[in-house]
Amino acid sequence: MENSTTNLSRRSFLKSSALAGGGLMISFTWLSSFKAVAEKLNNPGLPDQWFELSGYIKITPDNIIKIYNPNPEFGQNVMTSLPMIVAEELGADWQQVVVEMGPHDSVKLGPQFTGGSNSVRMYWKPLRDAGAAARNMLMQAAAQTWAVPVEEITTKAGKLYHEKTGKSGTYGDFASKASGIPVPKGVKLKDIKGFDVIRHSKKNVEGLKIVRGKPLFGLDYKVDGMLIAMIEHPPAFGMKLKSFDASQTLKMPGIKDVFRLKMYEDDFEFGGFDTRTFNDLLVVVGTNTWEVMNARKKLITEWEPVGDRKEKVNSFGRKKEVTIPGELESSDVQYQKMRTRAKQPATVLRKDGDPEAAFKNAAQVIERTYNAPFLAHNCMEPMNFFAHVTDEKALFAGPLQAPGWVEPTLSKIFNLSPEKIEIQMTRMGGGFGRRAYGHYLVEAGLISRQAKAPVKLIYSREDDMTYGIYRPMYTATYRAALDANKNLIAFHVKGGGIPEHPVHENRFPAGAVDNYLAESWELPSNITIGAFRAPRSNFNAAAEQSFLDELAEAMGKDPIDFRLELLQRAKERPVGKNNDYDADRYAGVLELVRDKSGWNKPENRKYNRGVAAYFCHNSYAAHVVDMVTKNGEPYVERVFSAIDCGVVVNPDAATNMVQGAVVDGIGNAFYGGLTHKDGRSEQSNFSEYRIIRIHEAPKSIDVHFIENDIDPTGLGEPPFPPVFGAVANALYRNTGKRYYNQPYKNDIINRKNNIDKKAF
């Protein structure tokens, strides 16, 4: 087991070094070396001579190694972690490495997609191969130069050696020659045990730029003559523009143009990620942001209902026609509709044994229903994109998770072949799934084409929140059948959503119960939805893990023991097929968190403790949250986390991400929720949509990774879902009541006031 560093260990490092040296010594070696490399790069005397060994690697004669990060960075640390994988196999000295965001080029740089906790998983092998191949090319170049067999060449920290002759040289010395050698395939990779870059924490390569406020983000992108555009969108889902009068707007200072445009033609076949909230847009274009924001207020607009409409969808080859209702939806009506629909028959997703008979013969049936509202992503950097589209070519630049998914759409809409479309990926101020939907590139492109100018499209915070692609609204009813000896004999989940259901039918506890039934249903809606950090899981882990907690209590069992018993069963005598989790690894994180949190230690009884575990994105996460009452309110003071995501590439950054996921989870569990009234979002800024703040964040989050040599699996999402369940279970111990409706802070208030309704 490896204990990743936490805040405590770093702080104690500070103290101990202060003691030892008689003064404070903080090691800024990384920072100074970073500066040294930067100075070299900025030295005008230095020839700008980069030898390209592959799409990922360039080397200068004085041995500066540039590694291209292929995947968009939205805070998950890929700008650092992915180049670390290359550097490992390349045998580079990390101090000599500079990192640059790669261009959008799927031939050279692979799938280039940030989402589904995929970055490290999907690039693990290709980047190791790329590093190993380049190292081999450098070795061949040295072997040829020194006239020795390539097998006798060794490398260390960016240098090549031939022991017998005592010859040595830097990678830079041989970069020119190596760049002419064909890229070899199938070069043997390092033994994982011998890693000296991977598994060794490296600082964020863009840290210095971030703390100095250097332009990094899409919103910071600027070219000469660039105009600013904003979209006046309908005030409610189900509405469209009827007419407008821009005469006052056009009189405002700095305003260049106001026009209406249609995003997609009626017969457009939508790709799976072509989701857009509104098709009919009113655009204001001007010279600077504030002037455009102001001028927007002068627009006189009339909106009308869209009515029901049909759309052709082609989601990765799956073609269908969907009808989108035109209703102006309200959350309370939606909630009632869900309640009605939940009682009706649903689609059976999986059935093991004879659940009907088991429930009929049960000594006790426990049934609970869980609800959760739409969630807005609320990335700190609002949606924005730069576009400059002409008849000949198009340049796009900004924050985007999936350039490869929007490119075909851009190609169709602007009638340009993909090679004439350049998409530059800037650092993203958060993503959480929201930026997998590239509709704002289409919007920016259309605006640029119409305005005949380079344009930056900017969403205001209000636009961003009310003009979103949200986490769906979910509900699920769980039922468990117990026999007379309080054994679990059947398990039933029936989940539904607006407009998508949440059920993962093959997830735990499927496989651990003889009689099992999973069902789903969906209600259509015109409120646009999409991926949100751990889609579906972020609800399931709240509902299922709360239910298991309640079940354990009813059975008189410790909640961890109960889960471990089920996992033992799933391992020894798995029920059914297609169980998608590994019971051993699942149990592993529960055992680790039990150990690290001192689950059974009497001194921890002063805390109201809640536990939950979940599997998603091929990784396993378990949390114990320790709740107390602070200023009369439940507060999560400490958290212990255990994660199994295979090899951890950059441990300290991985720890940061888990800590962040825990904070995000607590925040969304307590406060997250977007509601509608007659199609209009009832929250439009952070004054109404509460985001967790520093005083609400735990004092400590101790993160522990299972150490194994399994190829890396997901990390950005897996720690997030089980936080919801752990918080709910701790709340029960803190308040004596079970909460079934998110966000929990609202549910607590409703229960206190004896209001029998959903929380949102």
């Binding site: 983000f217 504030w290 700190m380 101020g429 005083h695």
Partner: protein
């Protein structure tokens, strides 16, 4: 004509005096380290120092800063190497990084007024700065670290 002293440099800008300082900095002067997050003083991404105070530039009309001293993240510390910036790197605080310049600017006022802050002091000072990635624990840690750097004078 508005006169601004930004990061010890003087600027004269011919601009609507009602334009928020944020947009003057970003769109007119070209200092983009100060971020737009909410526009209503809720998130703190736009914090700059106006005569040393951590004002939210998204709601501060530029006329309030006329003839006054403004410091942005680009001017934090004499050589942009403020102990907080060092500590932020050492604690490897940022995830996406978007909110961090505002966090740093708020933290700088805290440290100036309270060189030895407790966790409670940090929460009292920093609760106006939202970090959507949830780096709050590291922000606390980095502020303690920076305080220690300041105390030891290193």
């Amino acid at each position: 004509m508005i006169t601004l002293n930004i990061n010890q440099k003087n600027y004269e800008v011919d601009i609507d005096p009602d334009m928020p300082l944020l947009w003057v900095l970003r769109d007119v002067i070209g200092l983009v380290g100060t971020k737009y997050g909410c526009g209503v003083a809720q998130c703190g991404a736009c914090v700059v120092h106006l005569n040393g105070e951590a004002v939210r530039s998204c709601v501060t009309k530029v006329k309030r800063a006329d003839g006054q001293k403004v410091v942005t993240i680009e001017g934090l510390g004499l050589t942009n190497d403020h102990p907080l910036q060092k500590a932020w790197l050492e604690a490897d605080v940022p995830q996406c990084g978007y909110c961090q310049s505002g966090q740093l600017m708020s933290a700088a006022v805290l440290l100036r007024e309270n060189p030895n802050p407790t966790d409670q002091d940090i929460d009292d000072a920093m609760a106006g700065n939202i970090c959507r990635c949830g780096t709050y624990l590291r922000i606390r840690e980095a502020i303690h670290m920076a305080a220690e750097i300041l105390r030891k004078g290193s």
